[in-house]
Symmetry: C2
């Protein structure tokens, strides 16, 4: 964990949506910028499945964060203006309570006895953190991928607190292809004998399964077009065909392998399994009779919805559907269709496209009066 | 193997493109229809990675084949007119020599000592079979997926024998996304301890690895749109949430599992590994200085190239590129872009779209004079 990481014990006996409860919950988080006098400049950032709360560097921790180019002084999410909180999701393994945490009574890691986790639990735990920090209103709740689902849940269930919503490469519910990919990732991990039905602590656990699951993740996060440009059919320089015909030969195989090995070293397998399943279960229909009714609970005055044309895991029609529904409900919604070729991961890497869109959204800053706000976009969305 | 399966020992000491040789090669094949008097009505059909030679039923074997609706009396490939040969690819496990075959000297299965296999080897072994059958000219060489690559290799290397070429959901070379998917499938299989470095015979071998690899195959063969229509977020009727949160819950998970279990029961893991790697290596550039030069070797008078818009494994731009190049070379080429939602597998299941296109192509039958042939299509391709 980073030097910048702060920890708060946010609850004793935290009941979970799908049943069971956690005897205590701690969340790890980082903050950037300062709360202003009116205390209306806080942006709450939810992460995707695997990042920590270290979204950007700071004086306490100079290491670049996973959204380094997005957050900081003068950056699109300008920490000279905004106070940003990024939370390590409940269930993750970077300081927040998760399956690798020690159960306070048994003294052993929860492992597979961790109760079933839902996106709503992640959102509600974050709300308790925000409350403990004494923050009553959020300027924006923002998230991508799993974080976008969490931002949506937060904006519905704690509607009065959220003035703006930013949903990136996310969805109102997982579609069956995304469920299939994640289901296979989980089965790969669980099929590794080292998983030991989740009781692998203090060992590293299913390292092979995690490496393979991560490779499948990368395949689903990126696009064929990008890899054609980046790798083509390039071979490694030192391939010895005669040794092992199944060994790494193509650059794309090498890329997958080195990325996956880095990932395995830092992520807990059980956390992965729990957060992955939580994404399958998430369904906006759980918040209301219809999608419209669920979204009608959102009180955010403005929303920015971003999709990526080459995203195969959260296809852009899912973002468009969310934007259209919010628009029909009379919300001030901007929908942006990014022509990035980096697939689902574009929000992490396509700085040139994402920076100006987020900068513009947040440049409409908190000191600007209502009348000066961007004009309401039409329902016929851009891109 | 089917009652209709025939076997021919086509070679002693069959040298392979990438080095090494096989001391003997047997191929399994099936035929439908009869050779006509002029002996110019034979269609040679190559399969995808996993099917056997049993493409359709016959009097010897009434069981439906993998392309049952395409081949038979009165069907698009009309066996009242044509003589059809389908070959189980060299390296496969349905009667043709492959890694599970017994090495004639050692008396044990080849296993991982099987030499490196290439698409060109599959094509050349087929050519030897055709020659042994005394067939000098082929009306058409046709194949989809791996079979399309084989058909391409055959049409280049045995150009004088091929009058027409049909390439379906195939490519001039594998792109890095397809290589990544297959590389991961192979690693999943090889990571299963039961693979035993390929020395698992007479045991079934890496059953778990094969099941998981097949699931990844299915994910790459189909499309999210299709699964949204077929499965949506439907649950199994008998899910007991409280038992195992990672157990099969969604219909799409159940579909993957039942399909994968069937597959594992019938396919040899080493065959899978060898044929999979052969697809990665295939590159039209190996046949000439440039793609144009390679394709210029094809002497087929007509070509039909079919791609599927939702195919993520062999994206349609790959078929379009093949058709465009053949067109530039002055060949009579028809390109058809199928709007099927079944992805790469559309050729196996989208009967409504594929039947009329193939029927039309083959209805231009061998008795029609040159002048009556369909008019030459323009290079600006349809669809």
């Amino acid at each position: 964990m980073s030097n910048a990481t702060r920890y708060l014990r946010i609850a004793d006996d935290f009941p979970l949506k799908r049943g069971g409860s956690l005897p205590e919950v701690q969340l790890a988080f980082e903050t950037w910028g300062a709360r202003n006098e009116q205390d209306n400049n806080t942006i709450l950032l939810f992460t995707g499945l695997s990042p920590s709360a270290h979204a950007a560097s700071s004086t306490e921790d100079g290491a670049p964060g996973w959204w380094e180019w997005m957050i900081g002084p003068g950056r699109p999410i300008d920490t000279d203006i905004y106070h940003v909180i990024c939370i390590n999701s409940l269930g993750s393994c970077f300081g927040s309570t998760g399956p690798a945490s020690i159960h306070p009574v048994s003294g052993r890691p929860y492992g597979p006895d961790f109760p079933e986790l839902s996106i709503e639990d992640i959102a509600r735990s974050a709300h308790q953190l925000v409350s403990l920090l004494g923050i009553e209103a959020l300027h924006t709740v923002i998230g991508a991928s799993l974080g976008g689902m969490t931002a949506l849940a937060y904006s519905i269930e704690h509607a009065d607190q959220v003035d703006r919503l930013v949903s990136i490469c996310s969805a109102m519910r997982a579609d069956p292809m995304a469920i299939a990919v994640r289901s296979l990732q989980r089965e790969i991990i669980r099929s590794d004998p080292a998983w030991q039905d989740g009781h692998y602590y203090p060992q590293a656990g299913p390292v092979t399964g995690m490496r393979l699951a991560r490779k499948l993740g990368l395949i689903s996060y990126r696009s064929g077009q990008e890899w054609m440009q980046r790798f083509g059919r390039e071979r490694l320089a030192d391939v010895r065909h005669s040794r092992d015909m199944f060994d790494i030969e193509f650059q794309v195989e090498s890329y997958l392998d080195s990325n996956a090995r880095k990932f395995v070293a830092r992520f807990d397998a059980n956390s992965y399994l729990y957060l992955s399943r939580a994404m399958d279960w998430f369904d906006i229909a759980d918040f209301g009779e219809t999608d419209q009714a669920a979204l009608a609970r959102i009180r955010a005055r403005r929303a920015l919805v971003i999709g990526v044309e080459s995203d195969s895991l959260f296809p852009i029609h899912q973002q468009r559907a969310l934007a259209d529904l919010l628009c029909e409900l009379g919300r001030d919604v901007e929908f942006v269709a990014m022509p990035s070729i980096q697939g689902h991961d574009a929000f992490l890497v396509d700085r040139d496209r994402f920076s100006p869109v987020l900068r513009r959204f947040f440049a409409d800053d908190i000191l600007v009066t209502e009348q000066d706000r961007f004009e309401v976009r039409e329902c016929a969305t851009s891109g």
